[in-house]
């Protein structure tokens, strides 16, 4: 396909709210991700909180960074309905949470029985 055609394609693309973000949104996501990476590092290296509080805090930071990258890097909020991307992601996460929490739970019970 000719180059000008490709360009026309891209403007057609953006014309329907089908954009893939702007420099601003990528930069905001990048800065937020850096902050959400530095906070847990500082918490862990300086032993600022009790062990349980640290674990909870760094897990919250990880999940927040996940959400930040979904929104600012992967543009999940810009999806038009029906939101198949979001639905399939939620489906995947339900399986992951079930597998991870379920494994930990059942193996902890196993330890008690033994």
């Amino acid at each position: 396909m000719a180059k000008h055609d490709a360009h026309a394609h891209s403007s057609h693309h953006n014309g329907h709210g089908d954009s893939h973000g702007s420099l601003k949104s990528y930069t905001i996501g990048f800065i937020l991700s850096i902050i959400l990476t530095i906070i847990p590092i500082v918490l862990v290296l300086n032993d600022l909180l009790s062990k349980t509080a640290t674990i909870v805090a760094i897990l919250i930071m990880a999940v927040l960074q996940f959400v930040v990258q979904l929104i600012f890097f992967m543009h999940l909020r810009e999806e038009e309905s029906p939101r198949f991307n979001l639905i399939s992601l939620v489906f995947g996460l339900v399986i992951v949470v079930t597998v991870v929490i379920g494994s930990i739970w059942i193996m902890l019970n196993n330890a008690v029985v033994n």
Binding site: M1, T27, M61, F73
Partner: protein
């Protein structure tokens, strides 16, 4: 994002739109692959969570993990996720040179990440923590190694795509491929956030 298939919109030339829709279905198909990969990593995280304490009298994570190098890798991968986003922006502007340039920077950052990871693994094995040492280290190498393998495959793929972009320029097909690889790259960074938190930060505590 709207990576999803949409009903054909009536404007311009029909063939063009059909093509466009076809490409967005492929992007959605790749999104579904990513979801299955999320489940793959979920099971590896579950294995790691269950086995992390089973060190069989061997070395402990807390004694072996050297956080400064891992922090460096984390920032390298995060930056590469950002630069792959800029590559997509260059593509949307129709700038092939900028697109290839930012993809090259992304690939270089990815290669540095892999270099640091391979060095870390060699170091660990020399210090007596190999994949056969204990269940905990098996889980460690499987989880971290699977992520590293994904990044390595992404690198080969990215180099191939840069060559194709050089020959063919920005077409609906190469556009879809760039969209997909940047999606893949962001996904690898997301997985790394959890590897970094669960394996490394919680490992040194």
């Amino acid at each position: 994002m709207a990576y999803v298939a949409k009903p054909a919109e009536a404007h311009g030339n029909g063939h063009h739109d059909e093509h466009h829709d076809h490409e967005s279905v492929k992007v959605f198909g790749f999104w579904l692959f990513i979801i299955t990969d999320v489940i793959l990593f979920g099971t590896l995280f579950a294995v790691f969570a269950v086995l992390r304490g089973n060190t069989a009298g061997g070395p402990l994570f807390a004694d072996m993990i050297e956080l400064p190098g891992i922090i460096l890798s984390t920032f390298i991968l995060l930056t590469s996720s950002y630069t792959s986003g800029i590559a997509v922006l260059q593509m949307n502007k129709g700038n092939v040179k900028g697109l290839i340039g930012w993809l090259a920077i992304t690939a270089l950052l990815g290669a540095s990440f892999i270099y640091l990871e391979v060095n870390e693994f060699i170091h660990l094995v020399h210090e007596g923590a190999a994949i056969t040492t204990s269940a905990a280290w098996s889980a460690f190498f499987t989880l971290v190694g699977t992520h590293g393998l994904h990044v390595s495959i992404g690198l080969v793929w990215m180099v191939g795509l840069m060559l194709q972009l050089k020959r063919q320029g920005i077409t609906p097909v190469t556009k879809r491929k760039v969209t997909i690889i940047s999606l893949y790259w962001h996904f690898l960074d997301v997985i790394w956030i959890f590897v970094f938190t669960f394996v490394y930060l919680m490992g040194v505590m």
